[in-house]
Symmetry: C2
Subunit: 197 residues, 2 copies
Amino acid sequence: MNESTVTEEKILQAARLEFEKKGYNGTRMQVIADVAGISKASLHYHFRSKDNLFQRIFNDALNDYIPLVNTWKDDSLSWEEKVNRFTADLLEFVQKGTMLFIIREINRNPDLLSERIKKAKSNNSLVTYFEELNNTGQIRQTDPRLLYIFLQSICCFPAINNQMFRKVLRLTDRQYNELMEGYARAAASFIIHAIKK
Amino acid sequence: MNESTVTEEKILQAARLEFEKKGYNGTRMQVIADVAGISKASLHYHFRSKDNLFQRIFNDALNDYIPLVNTWKDDSLSWEEKVNRFTADLLEFVQKGTMLFIIREINRNPDLLSERIKKAKSNNSLVTYFEELNNTGQIRQTDPRLLYIFLQSICCFPAINNQMFRKVLRLTDRQYNELMEGYARAAASFIIHAIKK
DNA sequence: AATTGGTTTGACCAAATGGTCAAATGCAAA
DNA sequence: TTTGCATTTGACCATTTGGTCAAACCAATT
């Protein structure tokens, strides 16, 4: 890893931190430079502009997220086990705090998604999978698209809304962490009960 | 309604629009003034500062949201009917787009919630209600706090993440609206199946 | 008509902010 | 040692932005 790559790595790390915490509009190039331990001029040398740097960070985030939704085929697990694995995987990702970042920025500028989705695989594999379960009568008849939304909602929302949940439920950080400890399992169980015959 | 109140109403409406769409950091006082059809100086005459105006808008939003969670006692509906009403009420609110605003700003500055929650009623009425259902064995044993999170997630997340859902599910605006038409009922049904014995 | 008091505004200000540039620095090859 | 090239940086710039202020405006009262 040459010297330039090291600097750029430091920049990307700092930028990820700042953009995810403060959002595009709340982020200052000077702060990114400070956190990375370099000058603002150097920052602009490596990444031409704020938009440029942001694009990079945002795409990296999407790249971490999008593949998560495609873990439904290519193995012999039962659908219950697949739900278990999906909630576990998604919750682990979502806990990093990247989800609110993605949603916030997509909402600021919907075009951020448009290009990306166009070149994605043909169809949502979760939807296809549950359509099949529906057709073969293995689950209670449910619109697979709604199922997709329910799963995503239950997994993603707690991480996005944790400040509110913490306070409304009057939990200390410790108590909240304890509660979320078993969240993936509880969520999977909730979902499975909701759709099994 | 005197002349001054009219102006302030115009300002509040414009400010709500801007703050909800762009967030605190993305909002410009000049734009609020333009949308309200007055000068920036006049805007500052009525609301001392950006923070001041924002506080007002944010508190109004919270005031619309918080009471929604307390519709669980004081009537003779069955718990299934209460779930139905809750999802319907919450979804109606959430459709207005205020939810992402609230979450985004709380995340920017967690203190926005702290003061408010302290002077709220003693305990979350949904949690109390489902605790009772648990104790009297009317539903499948489930941590009522998790239940609270599940309900909120299923109702709130679609409105927050609609850009993503729309595109990932490859739906036109028309198709998406059709899908969301029956969302409240489908969500309630999903939840009821998940916890009934 | 003159006075008064609330309201509105154009002009202006200071600070913040993304971005540029020429000069300096360091380092490897010749 | 010198040359050449990538990297770094302090100084600087133009624009944006929240906020101020004195002067103008206007409706009601005297």
